[in-house]
C-alpha cells in the first residue's frame, strides 16, 4: 500500500485516535492494525496502544456502539444489549428499495396495467413471479380482478402506496416516453 507523505507525521494522541476511529468506521471489513499503521504512517505499537485506548473509551462513555477486535481486525458494531431494538428496527424499517427484477416488473405493471403474469412474462421475457410477490408484500401493487380469458389469470395494477412512494398525484402523472423524448435516447 502506498503511503502518502503529505500526511503529517506529528499528530496529537487525540487526532490519532480520531483518524483511526474514522478509518475503522468506513472500512467494509475488520481492519488490521498493520493496515492502519501503513495508511497513517505511524508505528504499529502506537496504533495498537491507541486502539486499546479507543476501545476503553467506547466502553466508558456507555455508547450504543463498541470498537472490538474480530477476525484479526478492528470493527465498530452495535453493543449486544441493544440487539432487540436493532432487530426490531431492521424488521420494520420502511424500504423503498427494489431489486432490478422488481423494478422492471413494477415498470411493466405501472405502464401496462391491468396486466397478467403471462403478459408480463411476454414483455419482460423472464418469469416475474417472485418479483410480483415482493411487490405485493411492499404493497406497491394490488390485484385487479381476473381477466376474462382462458384460465382467467389474475390482473395486477399499481396501488395507492405506489403513488405515494413515487410522489404521484394519480397514475396519469406517470411520465410518458414523450415527456422525456428529449432526455432519453
Amino acid at each position: 500500500m502506498e503511503v502518502s507523505s503529505e500526511i503529517e507525521k506529528s499528530r496529537s494522541a487525540i487526532e490519532l485516535a480520531a483518524v483511526i476511529e474514522a478509518l475503522i468506521f468506513v472500512s467494509d471489513e475488520p481492519i488490521t492494525s498493520r493496515l492502519l499503521s501503513e495508511v497513517i504512517s505511524e508505528d504499529r505499537e502506537i496504533v495498537e496502544t491507541v486502539l486499546q485506548a479507543l476501545k476503553i473509551d467506547y466502553e466508558k462513555r456507555d455508547s450504543g456502539l463498541q470498537i472490538r477486535e474480530i477476525a484479526g481486525g478492528w470493527q465498530i458494531s452495535t453493543r449486544t444489549e441493544y440487539h432487540d431494538e436493532v432487530r426490531q428496527f431492521l424488521k420494520t424499517r420502511p424500504s423503498a428499495k427494489l431489486s432490478l427484477a422488481s423494478l422492471e416488473t413494477l415498470a411493466v405493471i405501472a405502464y401496462k396495467q391491468p396486466v397478467t403474469v403471462p403478459e408480463i412474462l411476454e414483455i419482460r421475457g423472464v418469469q416475474s413471479v417472485s418479483a410480483i410477490k415482493t411487490l405485493l408484500e411492499k404493497r406497491l401493487i394490488i390485484t385487479k380482478g381476473h381477466k376474462e380469458t382462458v384460465g382467467r389469470p389474475m390482473q395486477y395494477g399499481t396501488s395507492k402506496d405506489f403513488l405515494i412512494q413515487f410522489g404521484l398525484k394519480d397514475i396519469n402523472e406517470l411520465p410518458s416516453i414523450e415527456d422525456f423524448a428529449d432526455l432519453v435516447s
Partner: protein
C-alpha cells in the same frame, strides 16, 4: 470600435478574429466554461468594467460577437441560444440609436431598451451565485464519509427508484424486445428467389411500386443488396419497367 461593430451582420461566422497564439489557449479554456449566453455577457460586462445598469451596448455587443466568432473558429459547438442573444444585442443596439427625446417630451417615461436584458442578467446572476454555493457545499460534503457496509445491509445491491427509473427501465425492456425481433430477422436470410417473389407480388398487387419506399423496408444491408438485385432481375426478365417522371424524382416500378 464603433465602425468595426457596424460590419457585424448575421454573417459574423465569416469574420476573422485576431488573437495571438499565446492567449489563444487560455481563451479556449475560458470559452468552454461559459454556461450560456447570459454567462458570457456577464463575463464581458465585468471584463469591460462596465456598470450592469448602464451597459455600453455597442461595445459589449461587439465583444460578444467577437467571442462567438472565436468559439466558431475553435470548433466549440455554439448553441442556438448564443445566436439568439447576439440577435437580441443587435436589436437593443439599434433601438438605442432611435431618438428617444420625442417620447420624453410628452413626459412619458420611455423604457430603456436595455431594461429587459438587465433584469434577466440580474436574475440570472443570483442563480449563478447559488450554483457556486452548491458547488462549495458539495465539495465540503465529499469530504464526509458514511460507514462501510455491515451485515444487516442486505439490501445493498438494490436501488432506490424514482419515476424516471421506472420509465427508463420500461424503455429498456421495450428496446430489448425490438433487438430480439431484429436478430431473428437477421438469422433467416431472405434469398434472391424469395425477394423476387415478394417484389413480383407487390408490383402486380399495387401496379406501381415506389423503389425508395421498397428499399426502406429492408432491415439490413444484406436484404438491401438482395432487393436491389431482385429489382435488376425483374426489369430484365419480366414485363416491368423503371419510370422516373422528373429528374431526381422518385423511381417507380410499373407493369408494362
Amino acid at each position: 470600435m464603433e465602425e468595426q461593430i457596424e460590419q457585424f451582420t448575421f454573417d459574423f461566422y465569416k469574420e476573422t478574429a485576431h488573437i495571438d497564439a499565446g492567449s489563444g489557449d487560455q481563451l479556449k479554456l475560458t470559452l468552454g466554461e461559459f454556461a450560456g449566453p447570459l454567462d458570457l455577457l456577464l463575463f464581458l460586462i465585468k471584463q469591460e468594467q462596465a456598470n450592469i445598469f448602464d451597459i455600453p451596448i455597442s461595445r459589449i455587443a461587439g465583444e460578444y460577437l467577437r467571442y462567438i466568432r472565436l468559439m466558431k473558429e475553435m470548433d466549440i459547438a455554439i448553441a442556438a441560444d448564443f445566436i439568439v442573444m447576439a440577435a437580441t444585442l443587435i436589436e437593443i443596439k439599434s433601438k438605442m440609436l432611435l431618438p428617444r427625446e420625442i417620447a420624453a417630451e410628452d413626459g412619458e417615461d420611455i423604457d430603456d431598451p436595455r431594461k429587459e436584458l438587465v433584469d434577466r442578467l440580474l436574475e440570472y446572476e443570483k442563480f449563478k451565485a447559488a450554483a457556486e454555493m452548491l458547488y462549495e457545499r458539495t465539495t465540503i460534503e465529499q469530504a464526509v464519509f458514511t460507514r462501510g457496509p455491515i451485515e444487516s445491509d442486505e439490501n445493498n445491491a438494490e436501488i432506490n427508484a424514482t419515476v424516471f427509473d421506472l420509465l427508463s427501465v420500461f424503455q429498456k425492456i421495450l428496446s430489448r424486445h425490438t433487438e430480439e425481433v431484429m436478430m431473428e430477422i437477421h438469422r433467416e436470410e431472405i434469398s434472391l428467389a424469395d425477394m423476387l417473389k415478394t417484389l413480383r407480388k407487390r408490383i402486380f398487387d399495387e401496379s406501381e411500386l415506389d423503389l425508395a419506399r421498397f428499399f426502406d423496408e429492408m432491415h439490413n444491408k444484406r436484404e438491401l443488396v438482395t432487393a436491389f438485385m431482385a429489382v435488376l432481375e425483374i426489369v430484365r426478365t419480366e414485363s416491368v419497367k423503371l419510370v422516373q417522371r422528373t429528374t431526381f424524382g422518385t423511381i417507380v416500378l410499373r407493369k408494362i
